[in-house]
Structures are given as C-alpha cells and as structure tokens.
C-alpha cells in the first residue's frame, strides 16, 4: 500500500507541546479583524456569550478529534477504514479543496486590507506571486519549517491584543448592558459566524501523524483553544465598548479602527504597525492550510510532494485574479464559514459515531 511508502519518520515529527502553537496559529487568522462585526450582527452585544459557547463546543470537538485519530494515522487512513478506498478518497479530495480555499481566502482578504489601508495601487499579481513563492519555500521545507514559522507568528496576536485594551479607556461600558437582552436562540446562532475563527481544528486530522506521541497533545490543543478564546473575548469586548451596535456594522475591519486611537509621536497611526505585524500571522495561517492541502493530495495520489505543491500554488495564484472585489470576498467568507461550521460541528462528530459503530461491528465479528 502507498501509505507504507509514505511513512513519516521521526526526523519529520514535532513535539506534542507544539500543538499549542500550531492550533493557535491556525485559528488566529484574518478573522480576528472582522469577527466582531459578524457576531454582533446576529446576537447584538450579547454575542460575547456566543464566544464562550463556541469555546465550549470546540473544546468538545477537539476531544472528539483525539478520540477519532489513533497514533500514527491521519484523516486519509480514517476515511479508508470507514468508507473504503474510493469513497474515502473522494471525501479526502473535498477536504483538500476546503483547506486550499481557506489558505487562499486568508491571503486574499489580507491583500484587500493592504489595498484599502495602505496602497490602493498595489498590484495583486506581483504581491501574491511573491507570497506564493514564500509559501512554497516554507512548505517544501517540510512540516518542521512550517511549524517553525508558526511558532514566530504565535507571539504577534498575543502582543497586539494588549494594545487593543486602550479601547476600554475611551469606551462606554454600558454598551454591554443589559446582559442577555437578546434571545437564547440568537446567541446559539452566533456560533456559526464565530466558528470561522476556530477553524484549524480540522487540520489536526491532517498533521496528527507528524506529532510525536500524538496522544499527549490533547492538553496542548485544549489550552490553545482556550488562549484563542481569551484573545477573541478581549477583542470582542474592546470593540463592543468602543463602538455602538449601529456603528460597528458599518466598519469593514472594526479592530483596525480601534487601533486608530493609538498614536505615538513617531508613529501617527498604530493600525499601520498592527497590519504589518499581522502579515506574519497571515502567512503562517495560509501556509499551514496550504501544507495541509498538499499533504492531503500527496497521500491520496502518487504524485510527488513537490509537484503537487507547485501545482496548487499555481491554482492559488490564478484564483487571486478571479476574486475581484470586496463583495466577492465577503461572499467567499460566508460560504467558508458555513462549510467550516458544518465540518466542525457535524462532520467530525459524524465521523466519530461511524468509527464507534465500525469498531463495535469489528469487535463483535472478532468474538464470533
């Protein structure tokens, strides 16, 4: 079988504690700039309760992921064992498309930010060409290189999220009152747009065999999820006290508008620093998704890793020109958020149930 040929040896693996960095890095993408607007649209300013709810649900999903994946196997093996080879490969193919489109979306929406805030005349072609060369370089360096890059990107949102605390100084705390003024159902509904910010959990299914002693990674994954929640909560609360509900809907990137109040003698506008630093986060997020997608196709085909990555990079580069404006990006993000939601909260539990049934059946066969 091909999986024998593509076995991962220890020199490609990383320690389990790095799951903290990888998962947090994947979750923290472009979404942190916009999610407050999206969740406030559904649940008003009680949406921060929705963040806590999403945190609970995603933690459960992470535990489920650890239950699904046995040591040394990934999603492709699981698909094979549950659905058989053909149908399993088809599902893996779709999963790869999802990862690739996420990688693409993160990058494209960031280019949009640069175009609006910095350079209206930025050429998408050249910019994304160099980005894809960089990503190819990282991905071809192997999983360890990608993780190394994520490790550096980890610290940036952590530091930047403190700068957003300034909003509390200028904000109106009464915006959050009265608590629970919206219906319970609205808060449940706000989980869907919020879940986009937690995407990255599904990627564990791809890189699981690259984690040395995978079973030890669970506590790190759970704490990564907690850290992500903490930052999201901080950003959401700061945005909510700083803007009122009508205002926040008019802003494309509310978090960037909060940065507008920070001003130093040398740097008139802090958001320019923030956006630039955020670039590293964007590259890391985009890169790990890209890697996941390449790995996915590599496992189900017989083409070389290098060949697939170059091919996918070309596809990504061409798609840059197909998404022309902000409206298309918004549409794309709505689709991705729906797919991501279904993937996390429906598909992964579904896989788990199937796996339980399957193991039950095999066990009963064995006893007979």
């Amino acid at each position: 079988m091909s999986s024998q040929k593509r076995k991962i040896d220890i020199s490609q693996m990383v320690s389990p504690f790095l799951v903290l960095y990888i998962l947090h890095g994947t979750q923290m993408g472009e979404g942190v700039l916009t999610f407050t607007r999206r969740i406030a649209k559904v649940a008003g300013y009680d949406a921060w309760i929705g963040i806590l709810l999403t945190w609970l649900l995603t933690t459960i999903i992470i535990v489920i992921v650890w239950k699904i994946v046995p040591d040394g196997q990934d999603l492709i093996d699981i698909h094979h064992s549950i659905f058989g080879k053909r149908f399993g490969n088809l599902l893996s193919l779709l999963f790869g498309v999802h990862l690739l489109s996420l990688s693409f979306y993160v990058m494209r929406s960031y280019i949009e930010v640069i175009q609006v805030w910095y350079f209206q005349d930025l050429s998408i072609g050249w910019f994304s060409l160099f980005l894809y060369i960089l990503i190819l370089y990282l991905v071809l360096g192997g999983f360890r290189t990608v993780v190394g890059f994520i490790f550096f990107s980890f610290w940036i949102p952590l530091v930047l999220s403190f700068s957003i605390l300034i909003a509390f100084q200028h904000g109106h705390m009464e915006n959050l009152l009265p608590i629970m003024n919206t219906s319970y159902w609205n808060i449940v509904k706000s989980v869907e747009p919020m879940a986009t910010g937690y995407l990255g959990i599904e990627l564990i299914l791809m890189f699981a065999p690259f984690i040395h002693k995978f079973h030890k990674g669970l506590k790190w994954a759970v704490s990564a999820n907690g850290l992500t929640t903490l930052i999201y909560l901080l950003v959401a609360l700061s945005n909510f006290v700083y803007f009122n509900q009508e205002q926040i809907q008019l802003l494309a990137w509310p978090s960037l508008h909060v940065w507008k109040i920070i001003s130093f003698p040398l740097i008139e506008r802090f958001e320019y620093v923030g956006i630039s630093l955020h670039f590293i986060v964007i590259i890391a997020t985009s890169c790990i998704y890209f890697w996941g997608s390449v790995q996915c196709y590599y496992r189900i085909s017989k083409v070389s890793f290098r060949g697939i990555s170059i091919f996918l990079a070309i596809i990504g580069f061409i798609s840059m020109f197909l998404v022309k404006d902000y409206l298309m990006i918004e549409q794309l993000s709505n689709i991705i958020s729906k797919i991501g939601f279904c993937l996390l909260f429906i598909y992964i539990p579904f896989l788990y149930i199937l796996k339980l049934i399957k193991s039950g059946v095999t066990k009963s066969h064995e006893t007979i």
Binding site: V116, W117, Y118, F119, D121, L122, S123, W126, F127, F130, H170, H172, E174, N175, L176, L177, P178, N181, Y242, F243, N244, Q245, E246, Q247, L250, H257, K260, I261, S263, E268, R269
Partner: protein
C-alpha cells in the same frame, strides 16, 4: 561553479527588491492638516478648504505660514481631488488635526461630509471636529501672526481646553453619537477674533443638523452633566454679596440613576477650591456649608435650564437615551423618542469646597 550559481541567484533576487507601489517622498507631499467645509447655496455644492503648513521656504521668516487651497464640489472625494489640482505636490491627509464645519453647512446637515471623511482610511479618529462661526473658508484663509502654524495652534487650543472646561469631542465620539441610538452629537464653536482664533461656545446637533448654540458660560454646567472632569473652573456670581467667585481645580463625578422609567436623577459630585477666599470667612464651618449649598443650587439651576432646553429641542447630547437603553430591557427607539421630552430629569449637585490655600 556552485558558488557562482548561488551568488548569481542572490544577486538577481536583489533586482526584485522594488516595491509594488509608487513611492512617496516626504519633501514632495502636501500635508493637509486642516479641512474646512462650507455650503454654497447657489450651486448646491460643498466648498472645501484644505490648509497645509509651509515649512522651510524662507530662512528668515519667524512666523509660520499656511497655504490654503479652496475648491468646490458636490462630494468630499471631489474636493480632495480638486485640491490636488491646485497644490504643487501630491496631497496627503494622514496628518489631519481638525475638521471645521461652517455654520451654514452645520445647519444644513453634516452627514455627507462625515461619511466622506470616514471613508478616507488614512485619517485618524482622534482629531477634533469644530464648528466655525460664519464661514470656515474665511477663518482658514486669513493669515494670523502665530508662533505655530494654524493647524497646530487650533489643535493645542482645543487640547488644552479639553483638559479644563471643554467637553471632549473627537471624530470617533462624533461618529459614535451620530450613528448610535439615543444620543446626539455636539461640537465646540470657534471664531475668528481679529488676530487670533477663539473658542466661543458649544453647538448642539439634532442627528446631523446644528440646532442650538450656547456660549462659554454654560461650559461647566454641561461638562459636569456630561462627563467627569479633572481640572475645570467655574465662575460663581454671588448675588447676595454682589461678588464674583471663581472655583478652581474642580474635580467632578457624574452618575445617572433611573428612579423609574420616567424619572432620572443625574448626581454630580463636585470638589474644588475657591480662589481669593480670604475675605469670605470660610474658616467657619457654617459659612462654608452655606456657600457650598448656594453654589450647588446655582449650578443645579443652570443644569436644569440646559436639560429643559435639550428636551424642548428634542436633542440628547447627554446620552440619556443610551443610558436608558442599557438600563431597561424593553427599550425601543420609537417609544423613546416620544417619551424623551416628557421625562423628568433632575440634576443633583453636591458641591464640596476643599479649602487649603497658599495664603492663610
């Protein structure tokens, strides 16, 4: 050979180290630091005036000069691009310090201008929106004999006054009140007084239209109701003794308390020093208490007058609607707008004199 290959790749990649966008040299940009807007009724267009300071054109000149570019268009972006036609260098607005609205344009409505400004990404949110008595164009095109450039002068004028009696209002605050429910914006009014620029009052808006103006004497009463102050001053006319006292370094705290759905108490706790207190006999406790009470009553009177005026005009610069919204669960905008003028709003002022002076 391998070394050659490697170094040639590195060398070639150096050629790629160019930016993907056009360059901007700091000496070759025209930095617009003030924008003034007026309304031209005959053509139904906005007139925009951008002021940029001129640095270093002559070595002798002590006073800084400004260049004012005026253009006319029906939209804000149009004004910016028209100003570009008149300025010798590329126009940049990133350093904008204040936006001035002529009185006429403020009465007609500032919503177009506000939206136009909000769409410029390089503009900060801490700049000061101001109303100009008369026309903004006239104020901006005049040459003043100042130590600083005009934009910096206006900025420091407003900044230092905000630390004292002027209630804080930035572009973000303006947006917040403009878009939010249950609140209305206000702005300081400045005027061109012979050789310098002065703050002459506050202008209150109904959503986006200027409807009410007050003079400088009501600054403290409004500030006390509106926000906490740290270093304010208040001029108390003591009618009984025919004396004018000034209360200095005032610290005040305000709190809104809803007694019922139709009754609001705004409690303001004020502490301050009385300047020139020697002859008042404040060392006797009963005298001091008497004076405190009288000042408190006077302030309460001034505050109720302001509030009554706001309710009459149906404007809400004190953000009472927003406070109600966060207190009552079943708040809705329509109902609120009907009940607001009839609500009983009581200012409760507790005045306390902290008397220790340099001279005993």
């Amino acid at each position: 050979m391998r070394l050659f290959k490697k170094s040639s790749i590195i060398f070639c990649s150096l050629l790629l180290l160019t930016a993907c966008v056009k360059t901007k040299v700091i000496d070759d940009v025209e930095i617009i630091m003030l924008y003034g807007f007026d309304w031209e009724a005959s053509t139904k267009e906005y007139i925009g005036t951008g002021v940029s300071p001129l640095y270093g054109y002559s070595e002798q000149a002590d006073t800084r000069e400004n260049a004012a570019y005026t253009s006319q268009s029906s939209s804000i972006q149009g004004i910016t691009s028209q100003i570009q036609h008149k300025a010798p260098f590329q126009v940049e607005t990133g350093k904008l310090t204040s936006v001035l609205f002529g009185e006429e344009v403020a009465q007609i409505g500032i919503s177009d201008i506000l939206q136009g400004i909000n769409e410029m990404p390089d503009i900060g949110r801490m700049l000061h929106p101001l109303i100009v008595e008369g026309r903004a164009e006239n104020l901006l095109s005049e040459q003043y004999q100042l130590e600083q450039t005009l934009p910096r002068y206006i900025k420091s004028l407003i900044d230092s006054n905000i630390k004292r009696n002027l209630p804080k209002m930035t572009l973000h605050d303006l947006n917040y009140r403009y878009y939010g429910e249950g609140m209305d914006p206000f702005m300081p009014i400045i005027a061109d007084r012979e050789t310098i620029v002065d703050i002459v009052g506050l202008g209150f808006f109904n959503h986006d239209k200027l409807v009410y103006k007050t003079g400088t004497d009501s600054f403290f009463a409004f500030k006390a109701l509106y926000e906490d102050s740290n270093d304010a001053t208040y001029q108390f006319e003591w009618k009984k003794k025919n004396k004018s006292l000034s209360v200095i370094s005032i610290q005040s705290n305000q709190k809104k308390k809803w007694v019922s759905k139709n009754k609001l108490e705004i409690t303001v706790k004020i502490e301050g020093y009385i300047a020139e207190a020697e002859s008042l006999g404040l060392d006797k406790p009963q005298n001091k208490r008497k004076l405190e009470k009288q000042i408190g009553e006077k302030l309460e009177e001034e505050c109720s007058e302001l509030i009554k005026k706001f309710q009459e005009l149906d404007i809400d610069p004190l953000m009472i609607g927003a406070s109600a919204k966060s207190t009552f669960r079943d708040w809705n905008k329509k109902e609120w707008e009907e009940t607001y003028p009839t609500i009983d709003i009581q200012p409760k002022i507790y005045f306390h004199i902290k008397q220790t002076n340099l001279t005993k």
